[in-house]
Amino acid sequence: MSRVLSRPVGILGDGDSATLWHSGTEGASHRQEWVVADNGRAVELIAITKTYPGVIANDKVNLSVGLGEIHAIVGENGAGKSTLMNMLYGMQIPDSGEIKVRGELEHFRSPKDAIAHGIGMVHQHFMLADNLTVLENIVLGFEPKSGMRIDFDGARKKIIEIGSRYGMTLDPDTLVEHLSVGQRQRVEILKVLFRGATILILDEPTAVLVPQEVDELFDNLKVLRDDGVTLIFISHKLDEVLSVANSITVMRGGKTVATVLPQDVDAGQLAELMVGSELPVPETTASTVTDHVALEVRNLTHRSNDDRTLLDDVNLTIRNGEIVGIAGVEGNGQSELIDALMGIIDPETGSVLLNGEDISTRHTIDRHEAGIGIIPEDRHRQGLLLSAPLWENVMLGHQSQAPFVRGPFIDMKGTRSATEEVVERFDVKTPNIDVPAHALSGGNQQKMIVGKEMLAEPDVLIAAHPTRGIDVGAQSAVWDELRAARQGGLAVLLISADLDELIGLSDTLLVIFDGKIVASLDPGDVTPEILGSYMTGVKVAS
């Protein structure tokens, strides 16, 4: 026996307006009816196994997602969540196991197959073209045709319809470059819905959002669910998962360890399932702040080519043994501050002093040599050579210093032993140091980056989102490293989007908004709510 869902596409109003366009169908309206087996399961993954070089990413994983529910998948990085979802979305093919969608056994060879079965995925890193409009981005690769032309008018109408139905209003004709991160994510969701998805995979959708945007996203997700859309939601943030999910599957070490209902567990229990131990709490010990100023920034101002003020008279001081945290919504000048400190941009005015010496005009490589360490904000684009072996990655940024070079030549012996030391001391899980960096999980890549910077024993460390997108175990390892180094007199500039991390680690907490430092707070008595109001410009310190 089977039943036909009354509104399988879950997007459209009733009647004739309920149309979906498929490319190549010459404007013919088409509404897809999904036949679902009687067990009411949207997705069943049975004994899925997938191996990569040196890693069993998924080991006989089972997952069962009910129709019209929000199903969260939680687990540390490297637990195999993304791999599992990539296989459901056809981006990767399992070595063994079965994928059933609405009760039917499927063999997806590519995302195209998955999309044809009403599965859509919203990736953590958005895949949008900045210089195209919302409308153009949504139809890209799925253009509704009217004769020889692209039917933009029909598509525009459709997008507005979908948007208003789920409370995701967006002007279809705005350029994507003008949108906020939250709005871009909505474009991604609309894009998937436009293609007729009734099963949505969201890969860490909240990682890039500010608290207010997270609330909006969850409201949208609930509307989608109530309309019959099935949502699979990957996250690390346990409180969020508990507040929004109907059921939760926990993964650990490439296996599914449990599927629980949110009302039956609390965050602590969930975290325990995830890591198999207590959840680490970011918390500094007694103050180790000294009198010696390691890094000083004076009157730093920088403007973009089109004359927008990116940094507005920034002043800050970091002493040895101090962690100064910078809170702020992304895009408020953090990247420019890092670039100015590293000598990648040349700010309009202002100076940077390292141990009292003005380094404003020094080259990036000189600043590395002078003792500034950097954990870049975007691992893949700024911190790694994904196709290069680990030893070359460890050399990156230190290629002018011993033990990596001797004169103009690479010191292979010194480089390899330094790399071995990083792997050993910072517990980087890898078969050997000749594997390319992309073979490591995100957490292990980050541990390697932190490790290579710590090994150089810098005076000042700029740590931008040091634990973003990494698992709880690696997170606590990174935090322990930062605390230990602070104890040893390291001055740290911590830039993060994780407020708990900022509050827990920082000795001084600054808030940056619109390129300006708007508040200096004591992390001891600040709440996420107060911080949030400074971060969004609602509150301005006198």
Partner: protein, 371 residues
């Protein structure tokens, strides 16, 4: 492990060559010629000391050309302008060489330096345009080729040519002090006959040194590391204190400088002058050799030698009334087939690594449990 590594690195080029010979055989059959007969002729013709010398003669400039192209490939730069760079460099080097009188080794050094500098300048124009104005190097180097060809034609006809009895325009015969000695003793010392009408070029030594220098520079120096990472990931390079734009410029200079050396084997060898019929096309064929040899100094040497042997073997086909273009077809198919073959072999190797690594991990986990 070591043996299987060598096996897999040879698998792609060897299977591509076999495939290409097969395609050549089919084409020969279509035009009504027995391929075994044709290939047999080529092999027996190649197996003599004159053919050997000729193959080396062709291979040396091809190898230098491949190295010039490969330097660009190391940072994702496609220097199609090697052709123009080596021709204009050879012409200037020929002109300078005939117009100075110096003690032998110094004379040779001056000629080499002239060629390197002219080649580097010509490529540097493309580099500067890319860095300052964002002009794609593929476009600019192609255009610079045309400019070079025209400039050569003009200068050779009007400025650099010397009076001679032949109609062939020339920068003039280099004096003996500018010529490199031939290396024919490499053949005669093993009891083979002296090659007739052709020499093993003395420039072979410089080409070998160049290959070693290329390897050391790219893989064993800080400069090479910075060059490669600028191509791999400009963002990471910048954060690591490397200016990728600067590296683009340096890479073009280096690639052009090496390109300048291509013509010297001929210029300072048997021909001894830059003439109107100076060998052309080596810059383009070098791209094929770099692809065939995967930018590796040894791989490119084998690739250059293969192309040299095939060019020589083509001569016999002409004598036998077989269309010699068959060799060009085979060379073309090799380049296409080798790209495909590398991809397929790459996947096989990756799949093997997956299994091996997974097993290694299982084994180490088992050990932990046992401990």
């Amino acid at each position: 492990m070591k043996v299987s590594k060598i096996f897999f690195s040879l698998l792609a080029p060897v299977s591509a060559i076999i495939f290409s010979l097969g395609v050549g055989a089919i084409v020969l059959l279509i035009v009504g010629i027995n391929p075994l007969d044709a290939y047999g002729q080529m092999v027996s013709f190649s197996a003599d000391s004159t053919s050997f010398a000729s193959s080396i003669n062709k291979a040396v400039p091809l190898y230098v050309s491949a190295v010039a192209v490969a330097i660009g490939f190391q940072m994702n730069l496609f220097n199609i302008g090697v052709e123009g760079q080596y021709l204009i460099a050879a012409m200037f080097a020929g002109w300078v060489g005939t117009n100075v009188v110096l003690w032998g080794p110094l004379h040779i050094t001056v000629i080499i330096l002239t060629a390197v500098i002219v080649g580097a300048i010509w490529a540097g124009i493309a580099g500067a345009l890319k860095v300052t104005r964002g002009v794609n190097e593929v476009i600019s180097t192609i255009m610079l080729n045309f400019i070079a060809f025209s400039a050569i034609a003009y200068l050779l006809a009007n400025t650099f040519s010397v009076e001679s009895e032949s109609l062939n325009l020339s920068t003039g015969k280099l004096p003996d002090s500018a010529l490199l000695p031939n290396l024919n003793f490499l053949i005669t010392m093993f009891g083979f006959n002296e090659p007739r009408g052709i020499e093993i070029p003395g420039f072979l030594v410089i080409a070998i040194l160049l290959g070693i220098a290329y390897y050391v520079l790219v893989w064993r120096t800080r400069f090479g590391f910075e060059l490669r990472i600028s191509g791999m990931n400009p963002g990471s390079a910048r954060m690591a204190g490397v200016n990728p734009k600067k590296m683009v410029f340096y890479t073009m200079l280096l690639s052009g400088g090496v390109a300048g050396l291509i013509g010297l084997s001929t210029l300072m060898g048997k021909l001894g002058a830059y003439t109107q019929d100076f060998p052309r096309g080596i810059g383009f064929t070098g791209i094929a050799v770099a692809l065939l040899g995967r930018n590796h100094p040894v791989g490119m040497a084998l690739g250059a030698l293969l192309f040299g042997v095939m060019d020589r073997a083509a001569l016999v086909l002409k004598l036998e009334g077989i269309p010699e273009e068959i060799v060009v077809i085979i060379q073309g198919v090799i380049v296409l087939a080798v790209v495909v073959a590398y991809e397929i072999v790459g996947r096989i190797v990756a799949a093997r690594e997956v299994t091996a690594a997974a097993e290694a991990l299982k084994a180490s986990n088992g050990a932990e449990v046992a401990a």
